[in-house]
Structures are given as C-alpha cells and as structure tokens.
C-alpha cells in the first residue's frame, strides 16, 4: 500500500518534470514561461491555439528570459521563451539536471532606441550608444551629440536600462558594448520592456532601449546607424527581417530535448503561416518568409 502510494507520487512528479502532463479533464497542459519581450505574442499564440487544438492548453507567464531559462534548467516548464541565447554555463547546469535544451528561433525583434517625444536627435550610431551606455564612455550630455534640447529641459542624458539578468540587457550589451563590455553604472534599471518606454515617455532627457512591439505614439523611435556615414536605418519589421537594422535579435523558444507530441505540434503551428502571421501582427519580424 505504502509503496504504491509513493510510486504514484513519484510518477506524477516525473510526469510534471519531463514533458507535457495531462490534467484531470484530459487536456494537455503546456507550461510556457520566460522573456518579457515575447510574453505578449506568446499569449496571443496560446489564445489562438486553444481553438486549433482544444485538447491542449498553454499556460503563459513572463518574468524575463532568465526566469524562463532557469525554469527550463529546473525542469518545471516545457517551453522557455528567451530573447537571448542560453549561455554555455546554463546549458551545463541543465545537463546536470538531466535536461537537454534544444533551441528554436520563432521570430526576430528590432531593439529600438527610444527617446522623449520632444528630443530633436535625428539619428544615433552604435558607437555613440556605446559611449552613452558603456563603462568609461564619454557621452553624458545631449549637446555632445550635437543637439540642443528644448528650453527648460536638462542637457544631461538620463540612461534607462534593464535589470541585469534580462535577455534584452544581455543582448544590448553584446551587440553594442561587446561580449565582455560593461555598462556604465547609474542607469535607471527598469523591470520590464514596457516600463522602459513608459519612463522615457515621461522624462524629457531620457534614452532607453526596448523591443519594437512596445513602441507607442508618445515616444520617439530614433534611426540607428551601424557606423558614422553608413546610413541610418529605421527600426521596422522589414529592416529587422532583411538584416539592415543593426540591433535586431532572434527570439528563441527552448524545449527540453527534441520536442515530441503536443509540444511538437504546438511549435510546428507557431512556425506555420498562421503562427507567423500572429507574431507579425504583434510587431515582431517572423522567423521565416511566408
């Protein structure tokens, strides 16, 4: 009696740990967690998929790429969303727990440099961004970029950044400051993609980076140039797809091992024309042409 009880407990634990589990009503539940950048589209996918396959429910939660990846390492989710690649150290930690994460690119995102609506700056180069955000960088004032701020606005650049384990933070560091680059301390570190845009909207001297999908008409999107005199590229879905926009990044979903069963069906549907149309509608670039 006792042995069988423990066996049941152990089995259900195992089922929860390694793959989709079937809940009481016979529906398969897929846990999907991670990137704050991806959370909106992940929710849209989950909602649309509930009509495609009513026997499968997808539970989506955000929290950031780091949250999703550590849940994948701990074996508590079937699908982890991430706006950055998993680090080698994280792969090793997952393998130690018996999880072998497999990477899938589900879309692309242009990382937009946001400014206050009244900021007259016309374009910015990657080098200038590095001087603004990087440790030891020399640009602290808007006048150093050759712009005169409107009367009554402080000339000081207010750097808006992200908390130090978000995927957006890590990607921006690699793309702008270099792989071992360090951020200048003293930035306002926001706890979400939307918070960055909200703060920039209310702060005249602010600069911030966040996903294209979070753009509103109350903030200014500044074109980014890969280098001095190399032409400015406006962040759009098209420029993210064709690779001309210099800070566009792939968006990932990780599965524990090669996907099987319901998880595979869901992932295939995400990469189908229908799924890719949804990510496009949400303001991201699709993973493939359709």
């Amino acid at each position: 009696m006792r042995t069988s009880t423990w066996a049941v407990v152990g089995l259900s634990f195992l089922a929860a740990a390694c793959g989709s589990n079937v809940n009481g009503s016979g529906r398969t539940l897929i846990q999907n967690k991670g990137s704050d950048t991806l959370v909106n589209v992940a929710q849209a996918w989950a909602e649309a998929y509930s009509t495609v396959d009513p026997s499968c429910a997808v539970a989506v939660s955000g929290g950031g790429s780091g949250t999703g990846i550590s849940s994948m390492i701990n074996g508590t989710v079937e699908l982890a969303n991430a706006s950055r690649k998993m680090k080698e150290r994280e792969f090793a930690a997952a393998r130690e727990n018996g999880v072998d994460p497999v990477e899938h690119i589900v879309g692309f995102d242009a990382l937009v440099v946001y400014l206050h609506h009244d900021n007259p700056l016309e374009s910015i180069t990657i080098q200038q961004l590095a001087e603004i955000y990087g440790d030891g960088g020399s640009i602290e004032r808007w006048s150093q970029l050759g712009v005169t701020m409107p009367a009554g606005t402080s000339d000081e650049i207010v750097r808006v950044s992200r908390q130090n384990n978000s995927g957006t933070y890590v990607y921006f560091r690699e793309a702008v400051l270099g792989k071992e680059g360090r951020y200048k301390l003293g930035s306002l570190d926001m706890h979400g993609s939307k918070d960055v845009v909200d703060l920039v909207e209310k702060t005249p001297g602010a600069i911030g980076y966040s996903g294209l999908a979070y753009a509103t008409e109350h903030v200014k999107l500044v074109p980014v140039s890969p280098g001095e005199g190399q032409g400015d590229v406006m962040p759009t879905v098209e420029s993210a797809v064709d690779g001309t926009y210099p800070i566009a990044r792939p968006l990932f979903m990780y599965t524990a091992g090669q996907p099987t069963g319901k998880v595979k069906e869901y992932l295939d549907w995400i990469l189908s024309d229908v799924g890719q149309r949804i990510i496009l509608e949400k303001g991201y670039a699709p993973a493939r042409h359709f």
């Binding site: 550590s70 890590v170 301390l185």
Partner: protein, 310 residues
C-alpha cells in the same frame, strides 16, 4: 480521573472528561500553537536564509569589496563584481530622508491626537491615520512613479524625478502612520496625574507637553521612531518604483539610487537557483535581516526602559 486535573483549579462539575474538558484542551493547544508560531516562523526563515546564503557570505563573498565597492555587477562576464556600497548608501539615504519627513509629521500628529483633539475629531483622526497605514506599498510606488516624478522634474528642473527625494517622501508618508499610532500610545501611557500636577503648578498647555509629557514618554517615542526606521529599511516595492533603481553613489537628494531590498526583488526571480548571483542576493538578505533585527531590538529595549521606570 484526578491525574488529568492535577494541579488545576477546575470549576465544579468540570472535572470529568466531558466536552467542555476537550474544548478547554483544544483551545489551549490552539492558543499555544498561535503563541509559538512567531518563534517557529522566525527561526524557519532564519535557517532558510542562512542555509541559502550564509556559507557564501562567510567563505566566498569578498566582504571588503561588498562593503566598500559601489560596483554592483552580478552578471558581468567573465568576472562578476559584488559591491554593495551603493546599495547600502541608497537604502540609508532614502530611509534617512524618509525619517526627516516622517518624524515631525508623526510626532506632531501624535501630540495633536493625544493631547489636543477631543471627542469626534480625535476618533476620526485615528481612523484616518490607520487608513493611511492600510494603503498597499505598490500604490505608493505608483504614486511616486506617476505623480511625484513629473512634479519633481517640473518643480526643480532636474532631468529625472525618480530620486532619493521622491522615494524618501513616499517612504516618509508610508512610515508616518505606524509611527503616529505608536507615539500616541506612548503619550497616552503618561498618567493624567502628571498633567494635572503640572497644570496645578500653573504650567501652560505647551509647557505641560514639552516639559512633562514628552520627557516621560521619551522611550516610547524613540521606539516609535526606530520602528519607523525599520519599516523604511525593509520597504521594497515603493522604493523600487520611486527611487529610480540605479546603482549610484548619491551626492544630492536629486540623484537616483537603488535600495538593498529592491535589488533582491528585481533580480532574484531571474537568477538560477544556487548560482553565485543567487547566493549574493541572499547575502544581502542576511545583511537586511541583521539590520532590522538590531533596530527592532533597540526599539524593544527602549520600550522596556519606559516600563521599568514606571
């Protein structure tokens, strides 16, 4: 039968194992559990925090760097830096400013409620103060983010309004109600005979308060302030939203800072369990635990001092 009731005084007719005997036993057990639950929880929390972070804090964390370096770079590759000075200074500066705001407000309110207000006005004021204490901290943080932030930018012509000033004022308003309540209790504990004696000697109302009531309530007032400090130190959400959350050694109230508590709240969710970063955050937790423990202990000693003199 008698062995069950040994050493107990029982009402006549209750010395049988009837339902009232059982109810008595059950009530006793429940009250006992409630009584020791605080101890059980505090010990459990302490063991948990210590188990997660104490080993790291003692053997691996470079305490010299942690206490003197303002560089909090827990995710920098290849070598993370765990410097906590900016966070400690951030928490201290916000709490300090909060006390500058809260102490005059709360003591003034306590004196008014305790000594001047009468009847209806007094009851209304007490209810309102308690209502103020019931506002959730995330609402305070939201006020700081959406109301105080643009206000500070406009009033002082500074680049950003998420600063020590913003968080300090918000935190001061949050800490004031609890300080008012405790300070008012301390004033109420001063026997009326003291006031009557002073008035009989011809003291004015102000003289009574300043020279008789406040000195005899001193310990209770100190306890109220210390508990306010503890509240400020441990507050997380409002400070996270209003302070700017920026690793920075401040030079003026218009600088953004980052608090110890806010750092844990913002980063713990995304760190892999058992990693260095995770343990470093728990080390911050241990530091916070020690500081609030000390503050509460001091407040307790202050209150005891008051009772002993009675």
């Amino acid at each position: 039968m008698s062995e069950f009731n040994r050493g107990r005084r029982t009402v006549p007719g209750a010395d049988t194992l009837g339902s009232s005997w059982w109810w008595d036993r059950i009530a006793q057990g429940v009250v006992f559990l409630g009584g020791i639950s605080a101890i059980v929880f505090i010990v459990a929390i302490f063991i948990f925090v210590a188990q997660q972070g104490l080993g790291f804090a003692i053997f691996e964390l470079d305490k010299g760097v942690f206490l003197t370096s303002p560089e909090w770079r827990p995710t920098t590759e290849p070598e993370p830096v765990f410097g906590g000075l900016a966070l400690i200074v951030g928490t201290a500066s916000v709490t300090g400013l909060a006390m500058l705001v809260a102490v005059p407000f709360s003591l003034g309110a306590a004196i008014f409620i305790g000594e001047f207000a009468t009847g209806r006005a007094r009851e209304y004021l007490k209810v309102l103060v308690e209502l103020l204490a019931a506002i959730p901290s995330v609402v305070w943080g939201f006020i700081g983010l959406t109301v105080v932030n643009p206000l500070i930018i406009d009033l002082f012509n500074v680049p950003v309004g998420l600063t020590i000033l913003n968080a300090g004022v918000i935190l001061g308003l949050m800490a004031a109600p609890i300080m008012t309540t405790i300070a008012e209790d301390a004033l109420k504990a001063v026997p009326d005979s003291y006031r009557e004696a002073a008035e009989a000697l011809g003291a004015t109302r102000w003289q009574v308060i300043r020279q008789v009531v406040l000195p005899s309530a001193k310990n209770g007032l100190v306890a109220a302030i210390l508990l306010g400090v503890g509240r400020g130190f441990g507050e997380t959400m409002a400070v996270l939203m209003a302070s700017g959350h920026s690793v920075n050694l401040p030079t003026s109230p218009f600088d953004s800072v980052r608090a110890l508590t806010a750092t844990i709240a913002a980063e713990l969710g995304e760190t892999a369990r058992g990693s260095e970063h995770y343990k470093a955050l728990f080390s911050i937790g241990i530091l916070l635990f020690l500081v609030t423990f000390t503050i509460n202990l001091l407040a307790d000693v202050a209150v005891r001092g008051r009772r002993k003199r009675r």
